[in-house]
Amino acid sequence: MVSALIPLIGLMICGAVIALETKDLLSGIISLGIIGFALTIVFLILQAPDLAIVQIIIETLTLIILIAAVLKTTRKDSIESLKARKVILWVAGLVCVAAFIFASLKAFADISAFGSPVLRMAEYYLSNGVTGTGAVNLVAAIILDFRAYDTLGEATVLFTSVAGVVTVLRKKGRA
């Protein structure tokens, strides 16, 4: 199963490149969907069914919002003209990206191989999670008991962004 990871992530990378480089915004957003849905499968392979469920629904919803926004506005990407400034930007972007990947190559040589995580906090969750909280789903035990404070923050983020969306899309800003 795990051997399917690399092609899947490869697919996600292809999706990312297409999403950024296509000239039609709608195609770009649908290619973004490739990444999101491939990520769902990756989560399933990585034994994270909770994440897969949340990811697939939220991906759908995000795509609905994005597609609705694009259909109501325009599908055309901005026309890129080849100017000196743009070339500089392009080179700068590529240098950034290359430096980033190079740095990570060096960094990841130092951490233990894929598939053997460092368990320090998690050890307690795995051994005592059920007796400590009573929930057999350990992810639920973590997000709503051990780290419930984070979840309060997360729900607040959602509340904040809804308040923000309603604020930004209101009729009139100034009295």
Binding site: A103, S104, K106, A107, F108, A109, D110, I111, P117, V118, L119, R120, M121, A122, E123, Y124, Y125, D145, F146, R147, A148, Y149, D150, L152, G153, E154, T156, V157, F159, T160, S161, A163, G164, V166, T167, V168, R170, K171, K172, G173, R174, A175
Partner: protein, 499 residues
Amino acid sequence: MNVLPLFIVIPLGAAFLIPFLVKMWRRIPDLTGTLATLSLTVLAFCLTDKINTARVYYVGGWEPVKGIPIGISMVADGLSVLMLIIINFIALMVSIYSIEYMKQYTDKAKYYILFLLMIAGLNGVVLSGDLFNMFVFLEISAIASYSLVAFGIGAEELEASFKYQVLGGTASAFILFAIAIVYRITGTLNMADVSKVISTTGLNSAVLFSALLFFAGFSLKAALVPFHAWLPDAHPSAPAPISAMLSGVVIKVLGVYALIRVFFNVYGIGTFNSILSMMLIFGLISMVFGGILAVGQKDLKRMFAYSSISQIGYIIFALGLGTKLGYFAAVFHLINHAAFKSLLFLDSGAIVYRTGTRDLEKMGGLAQVMPVTSWTSLVGSLSISGIPPFAGFWSKLLIIIAAVQAKHFIWAFVAILVSIITLVYFMKFYKMAFLGKLNESFAKIKEVPVFMSLPLIILALLGIIMGILLLPALKELIIQPAADVIYSGVNYVQTVLGG
């Protein structure tokens, strides 16, 4: 009873209740906002008792098992308490000021909801003892401030806020990536525990990579040059009280505080020793660039925004000196800048409220019609540019002395030069806005209403008192404990986890 959770619960509870209560009486948002920030300020001052010991609060009662923290902890040590006092006091001032000022905008209830959520986020960041929890609260305050910047939904505000969001979102992605790598290396998220594990592994390239990601992320949030592009747009476009919050508090909490916490207390300057020189260089660049760019500005609030970049540069520079005096000066300058930059932004709001323009060239002679605004602006300007006997003078002097002590003579000289530049542009601001001939169209304007002038007067008085009388008391009470936290570095582990 331990009060730490109340710093989160009060603003959140108030924000969640406003939608229900606003139907009953339209004044409810003003009242809730002010009462909530008032009670938070009182609570923050209560914490100064026993400030030298770190209070640790294990949320949900999940105390460490065999020395390994398993839940989320809230930690209030000297630095956190200092930041709490700044956040909640400035928030109280801003909240009173908003009662009148925000009448220009529609939907005040939403404004107070977002404002309280921002306060909750900032308090959460400062109190958190857990890296991921800090990230979550950082996102709350960031998202609230994105929406608050665009509260007027004019074209300019929307663009500024979009830019802010893109750079802020990038910063958040960097920070989350760094947290993921830290978790991969250490297997824990509690800051003290991370510090403990990292001190045993030492600096390998994975740790270095995560440190660099953290540095990039927090520098974006703190708007250090060259990561400053969003600040000169976002801070001026926001409503004046929010500009005061952003410049006075938000960049300090999300940027400077987080940098201090992660690099001094978690990684430790012993592990990652090039951090000090990086801070020196970035601080110096921000100081000089911010100062030079501020001089040329015609837009009042934009000038203040560049000035914020310059002053944050001073703080980071002083931290980068790596001496005890440097830390003390940095903390002191942080308080001063919070008080005076919010004072100045509130003043700019008062001017805009009455004249309707931010263009300095269209102003002039306002001292005749707006005496309170004029005097408080003078206090703020003189203090920030470092004129004795105001508090700003002492903090800048300390920074320069610290630089000289650390044998950075050239850089101390640069700091003096920038201080002169600061004086130049603040005098330019004062002269263009308040002195000279009064523009005829402004002849009939009056001083701002009492709810707006009250915070101005309080902040200005605070500046005078802080400089002359309170300094020794203030030093013992809050500044020294905060500086000690920075100086003690990775001893944070012992203060939090014990042993």
